[in-house]
């Protein structure tokens, strides 16, 4: 869990944005939306893993539960 995860997310964001723009220009609006949704889901997967790491650590540090 460090800077490379953040760079990964930023890269995915840029890639998805560019893909969506290109597909939009090519007149494929639905596919551009699909790419956007897929990007959001992939990034959400990464973010949720990070949040779960944090929650486990906070629970163990502060003796929660």
């Amino acid at each position: 869990m460090s800077i490379d995860l953040i760079l990964k997310v930023a890269g995915i964001g840029l890639l998805v944005g560019i893909c969506a723009i290109i597909l939009n220009e090519a007149g494929k609006k639905e596919q551009a939306q699909m790419v956007t949704i897929a990007g959001v889901v992939v990034v959400l997967y990464l973010v949720i893993q990070g949040i779960s790491d944090l929650f486990v650590l906070v629970k163990s540090v502060f003796n929660l539960y």
Binding site: L5, V40, I51, V58, V61, N63
Partner: protein, 128 residues
Amino acid sequence: MEIAQVIGLAIIVTVLGAVLKQIKPEIAIQLSILAGVTIFLLIMDKIRLVVDLLQKLANQADISSYYLFIVLKIVGVAYLAELGGQICRDAGENALATKVEIAAKVFVVILAIPIIAAIMESMMKLLA
């Protein structure tokens, strides 16, 4: 110098977020969430040291660790609620952030019930 790491990370995320916000705002929000989580993870290792120190001090002073654990739990709940509330506020969901904070306050009061009861009991003993 861990603080330099945190500041560098924050600046990089700010710049990347400014670019991403124009292209894909929904991924920019997730990027800022991830940055916040990363910074919290960096801090948590340090907080563990402080908590260990507090426990050692409490043991030396013969304070019941039961009450120390309650205080630690309250601090943990407050940390998590702050994180969640700020994420909601970042994404423009002010109402949700306020509700998260209200829920955190309720849970803190519930956690503090044993301490309040103990204070009441000792006050009754003093008065009687």
